[in-house]
């Protein structure tokens, strides 16, 4: 990708500049101000992120109601998770969420980016329209769609208008449809976001590559698979990370639309963790669920960091 090449060359240049005269390097290293520049932000993040994260792992090995001191119980929480049907349901729903929400937003976002990549009349408006939901909070999104799903709301009226009355149901209150009825608004908001990421990636592709492929007689489909997609490797990694992390974090939209109900039918790991912690006050057990979410996210984060590291080097 051309952008990263520029970054790399510039990066080497800077390091040579900073590194040439040895004595200046030492005096810079000793500057207490620079040490503070790094240490203060790092300390803030340590207090509010690193230390709590470590505590989270410790709490997952305890039984704790938040009042009396936590009591160490080893891996009992994890053993209980293995036999907890609600947890298993939440895990399955999280996987469904990951596949449907993640997969469809990538397909939709990429498709829209391909359609709207060329600057032409009207494209600015179309992009803005698709992007608008991204600036709304998930709670706003949820309330917007709640109207849509209301009994006798817009969804039902559309179905009646096209003669599909038999499909009409209480979308958010029916255990069979609740999860999917929540995924739809989440997608509505995510597609524009993914589209912007891909648009940035498409812009960075050298047009000469497409030109060369066209001269060689490649058709549009072949150019898509042989030129565009391989060239987007960097962006794909970012989109994948964003999607997986967003999916595992998803909480707001489910909480505002269904409170994970009815009967846990739209329960995700994130919502189950929240209700175990702050409603059932089983802080140790909730921490164990959080650790499971962490382990699921870890694989992706590692992938992301390895990539970032390679670019830094």
């Amino acid at each position: 990708m051309s952008v990263s090449t520029i970054a790399e060359t510039a990066g080497t240049e800077t390091s040579t500049v900073a590194g040439t005269p040895r004595r200046r390097r030492r005096s810079q290293r000793l500057s207490p101000l620079l040490v503070a520049f790094v240490l203060v932000p790092f300390a803030v993040e340590s207090i509010w992120v690193f230390w709590p994260a470590l505590q989270g792992f410790w709490f997952s090995l305890t039984s704790w109601d938040g009042q009396t001191p936590p009591e160490f119980i080893g891996i009992d929480n994890y053993a209980e998770l293995a036999g907890d049907a609600t947890f298993r349901g939440a895990l399955v729903n999280t996987v469904i969420w990951l596949v449907l929400f993640g997969g469809l937003s990538v397909v939709g976002g990429f498709g829209m980016a391909l359609l709207l990549q060329r600057e032409r009349r009207g494209v600015g408006f179309y992009r803005a329209a698709l992007f608008t939901p991204v600036v709304f909070s998930l709670v706003v999104t949820a309330l917007v769609w709640r109207v849509f799903y209301q009994p006798d709301g817009v969804a039902d009226q559309i179905l009646r208008a096209v003669g599909l009355e038999h499909l009409v149901r209480a979308w958010l209150a029916d255990p069979q449809t609740a999860l999917y009825a929540v995924i739809l608004p989440a997608l509505w908001r995510q597609i524009g976001y993914v589209m912007v990421l891909f648009l940035a990636g498409l812009k960075a592709i050298d047009p000469a590559l497409h030109e060369a492929a066209r001269v060689d007689g490649a058709n549009g489909w072949q150019r898509l698979w042989r030129v565009t997609i391989p060239q987007l490797k960097g962006v794909n990694a970012v989109v994948l990370s964003v999607i997986v992390i967003d999916s595992l974090r998803s909480f707001d939209i489910v909480w505002s639309l269904t409170r994970a109900g009815p009967y846990h039918s739209s329960e995700l790991l994130s919502t189950y963790m929240y209700s175990a912690a702050f409603q059932s006050l089983r802080l140790g057990y909730a921490s164990a669920i959080a650790v499971v979410i962490f382990v699921l996210a870890l694989a992706v984060i590692l992938g992301y960091l390895v990539r970032a590291f390679r670019e830094e080097a």
């Binding site: 970054a7 900073a18 993040e45 706003v140 790991l269």
Partner: protein
């Protein structure tokens, strides 16, 4: 001829899709100006038969949206300024000086931001109780700053690293110290990245629900996103008032987006090409 037809199809299709995409938003705006009686008789899905702005008054004063918006701004503005300020100095030191272990520090900070917040919720709540910050806006500001820092530092680091080294050299020869170079040289050059991150972080912090309901309890102190959920409980079937509240809660982020549109999009794109 075929070309014209294809252009026509493209524009028809995209116009329809765009309208479909905006339809839910337009629907809510229309609903927010309908009267309760109109909705009760004609239903949620019908076209408007009335016009009132009383819904906005109800959401604004009776529903407590005004106070919630004030809370939101009291949290969002300091959080954005603080986290960008701290991230900028960290990124400056890490990118322009040979701080030992700088790469590890940078990646560790980024990793902190990528953690699922769930693992932090309980410890953060307990820690804010311990320090007496629980149920105050300070706790929310602190956790927003701490959690966002890693990502902002990473992005600003990438940006500052790419600035030419000669500028810094010249300033050093002129006798400027690290603080002066930062304030007079680096910060002005980093403005585009700061604007992009500022617009992005404003929306993120303003739209947050999870941290707010984790470190706050009192209704009066809730920012607008959780307050909107409470409004839904308060005005159970007054869909017009809920719609008005939704519009009010969405206006600030839409305004920031429209004002900083270019920065906003480039901010998202920074993440993609870095």
């Amino acid at each position: 001829m075929i070309r014209k037809l294809r252009t026509g199809t493209f524009h028809t299709g995209m116009t329809l899709l765009s309208l479909l995409w905006l339809a839910p938003v337009l629907w809510v705006v229309v609903m927010s100006v309908r009267s309760f009686d109109d909705i009760a008789t004609n239903g949620v899905g019908s076209l408007p038969h009335s016009f009132t702005l009383d819904t906005y008054r109800q959401a604004w004063t009776d529903g407590g949206e005004l106070r919630a918006l004030v809370n939101s701004l009291l949290v969002t503005v300091p959080s954005v300024l603080l986290s960008l300020g701290l991230a900028a100095v960290a990124a400056y030191a890490l990118s322009r000086y040979r701080i030992p272990g700088r790469r590890t520090i940078l990646l560790l900070m980024l990793a902190g931001n990528l953690l699922p917040p769930q693992i932090l919720l309980i410890p953060v709540q307990k820690f804010s109780e311990l320090t007496g910050l629980y149920d105050t806006l300070w706790a929310l500001i602190a956790v927003q700053v701490g959690f966002g820092l890693g990502f902002y530092t990473f992005v600003l680091h990438g940006f500052m690293r790419d600035l030419p080294g000669e500028i810094q050299e010249a300033a050093t020869i002129d006798g400027a110290g690290p603080a002066q170079i930062f304030a007079r040289v680096m910060l002005p050059l980093t403005r585009p990245a700061l604007a992009a991150l500022g617009a992005l972080s404003f929306t993120w912090i303003f739209n947050d629900l999870l941290w707010a309901i984790t470190v706050l309890r009192t209704d009066d102190r809730m920012p607008v996103t959780p307050a909107l959920l409470a409004l839904q409980g308060q005005f159970v079937s007054s869909w017009n008032v809920i719609a008005a509240g939704t519009v009010i809660a969405a206006v600030p982020t839409v305004a920031v987006f429209l004002r900083f549109q270019r920065h906003f999009i480039s901010g998202l794109a920074i993440g993609a090409v870095k």
